[in-house]
Amino acid sequence: MKTFIAVLFTVMSLPLFAATKDKPKSPPVPTAQIIDIAFLNQEQTPPTETLSNLDLFVANKGVEGAELAISDNNTTGQFTHQNFVLHKFNVPADGNVTDIFKQNISDKFHYVITNLNAANTLVVSDLAATSDTILFDTGTVDDALRNEQCRQNTLHLLPSRAMKADALAQYMMKKRWSKWFLVVGNTPEDALFATALKRSAKRFGMKIVTEKKWEHTFDARKSAQSDISVFTQSDDYDVLVVADEQGLFGEYLAYRTWLSRPIIGTQGLIATAWHSTHDLWGATQIQHRFQDLAKRNMEEPDYGAYLAVRAIGEAATRTKSADLKIIRDYLRSPQFTLQGYKGNALSFRTWDGQLRQSILLAAPRSLVAVAPIEGFLHPKTELDTLGFDQSESTCKLENKP
């Protein structure tokens, strides 16, 4: 690494030298600012009962997004004399996050990116509360972590469940699919997404005409045809809305419902921060760069990690600083804007640390729409029509962290 920096400065100082060659004094060699970033990731386990074996399971999604952003930051850094270094800490699926954090990260890093579940994210936020640390949560979509359990030291990169549900509801409202049949899976996460969907239904004046919990077998290869026909018999509705975050049964609803109705939610038309079909606003470029690096398509956790590292890079470049306090203040200031390949400038909500952003509505092989859907207005920014707005939030962070 030292050689790299040395070479870099030789290259950088040449033109400077050329420009000032009539003066006898040679220009001072700039010293690099080093910005160390910790990436704390816990490996995922594949869902045990999943039926769809089509997708290759990747245990460490996210880390390659961070690597790509480090490379982007350092391309910029060669001109600003800043060098960004990623330190990866990988916790096995059955490992102890607290131990790894205490041993390797606590009090050693100012900038910590986490790709953990909600419970562990909260644990790490609280462990870091007394140290000079800013946490970038790229693993959770939980609304509780952005409301009653919010923490002063934590920023959230991925859209919350409420933001995703609002994105779907806006689209359904535009299509006048106002009568919903809600199907909810059995996991606690499914219940949370169902809660978010119900909030959105109320917010946008939609009606849930039927709600059912999926209680059938997961082995659709044997029974989907008969089970789903019977299961979906109900009063008339416009759209089947499904909450099945792990994909245990949702894929088998399409084409098998009693009435011919579109599927939306966690399967069918989905709401996501990133999708492989997205090619607007320069997204093609980052899709290519990520595919070159990871040999697979970019997904939501990769995008979250990419944005976290880029947010640090953008703040360091603009403030010409590596100082935690300066960067932390800048990230939460109105001056901070992040380019996220989604048309609008991204920024952090001051009241809950959530990154405001557009949400993609995608079918498996096509991008259908981008929320906020045109026509949903907001006095400040249309991006705040998605999720908990300032007046609704139960989190009240101080504006100056």
Partner: protein, 318 residues
């Protein structure tokens, strides 16, 4: 009225206005050929995959088109539109600039963070210069001193000395710079930033901003204002700035740097070009698939001409 005079006047009018507009159509893999006087589409010619950047040689004889998905810049005879050659542009060429002396072409290679320098006589790459992430806007100052490359994700303009082909200075600009151009006297560099919705005017001597112009249009949310193409007239009286999804062209007083007016054009207006006499402005409207024609004396949009899918760039051949 004297019949002879009438005929003469008619002839003069036709002569003065005789020009052709070429428009690259990104999604049609084609070039639209337009008569801008009567506002008709003359023909559409297949040209290669995903054509974007377009330029005419200074003698107006050769037409250069970046066919991005063919990874090359093709050369066409500007009269017959037959391909006469191609250039080794590096991967995924989008935008490029010709040197005022006509001997070199500079290409942005977005995926590789490079500017490729091509020797036009030899049709060979003579150098590749490392720049920031996703270089896009590129131009050469009319006095042939500076080559400018703007990187979209790094948010910088790089000042490259044309003689040494090395970066001399970098200026941090607003978020997502897209298009760069010099004033005709080479004293100022104008930069549009799509995401910040701003236009920055930099002093070519100090390389620092003189002014940052922001745009505000009643009834249009600020994040829809995404400036891209710029055209500055020869006398630097006025400049015209395409505002992307705001569907408008801003008229800027190029002396006072104040916005004078907004003209409603087609959807997602992208790049703009003057007519040869600078009495009209043509705009490529990406989402409404047409070209708007603006009469600059009256500052009114007189016509829109359907040209094909995703018009990207345009050039005017006298």
């Amino acid at each position: 009225m004297n019949k002879k005079l009438l005929i003469f006047a008619l002839f003069a009018a036709i002569n003065a206005n005789a020009e052709t507009v070429f428009v690259t159509l990104e999604k049609d893999n084609a070039l639209a050929v337009m008569n801008p006087i009567d506002g008709t589409l003359l023909k559409t010619v297949p040209i290669g995959k995903r054509p974007r950047g377009i330029a005419l040689s200074s003698d107006n004889k050769s037409l250069y088109v970046a066919t991005s998905d063919d990874n090359t810049i093709k050369i066409f005879d500007a009269e017959t539109l037959k391909q006469t050659g191609k250039l080794p542009s590096g991967e995924d060429p989008e935008t490029f600039a010709l040197s005022p002396t006509g001997d070199k072409m500079y290409v942005s290679n977005e995926d590789d963070s490079l500017v490729t320098v091509i020797d036009l006589a030899q049709k060979k790459i003579s150098k590749q210069i490392k720049v920031g992430v996703e270089p896009e806007g590129i131009c050469v100052s009319p006095d042939n001193q500076w080559l400018i490359s703007a990187s979209e994700t790094t948010n910088m303009v790089h000042w490259i000395d044309v003689k040494t082909q090395m970066i001399v200075e970098n200026t941090l600009v607003d978020a997502r710079p897209r298009f760069v151009t010099f004033t005709p006297d080479s004293s100022q560099l104008w930069v549009t930033s799509e995401m910040a919705g701003s236009l920055m005017v930099l002093d070519a001597k100090t390389k620092q901003p003189i002014k940052t112009i922001s745009f505000a249009i009643q009834g249009v949310p600020n994040d829809k204002i995404q400036p891209v193409g710029i055209a500055i007239d020869k006398e630097r009286k006025r400049a015209y700035v395409a505002l992307g999804t705001a569907n408008r062209v801003a008229v800027v007083n190029a002396q006072t740097l104040e916005v004078e007016k907004y003209l409603l054009v087609g959807s997602r207006v992208w790049n703009v070009a003057f007519s040869t006499d600078e009495k009209r402005l043509y705009t490529a409207n990406g989402l409404s698939n047409d070209v708007s024609i603006i009469d600059l004396e009256s500052q009114t949009v007189t016509k829109s001409v359907g040209v094909g899918n995703y018009p990207w760039g345009l050039v005017v051949k006298p």
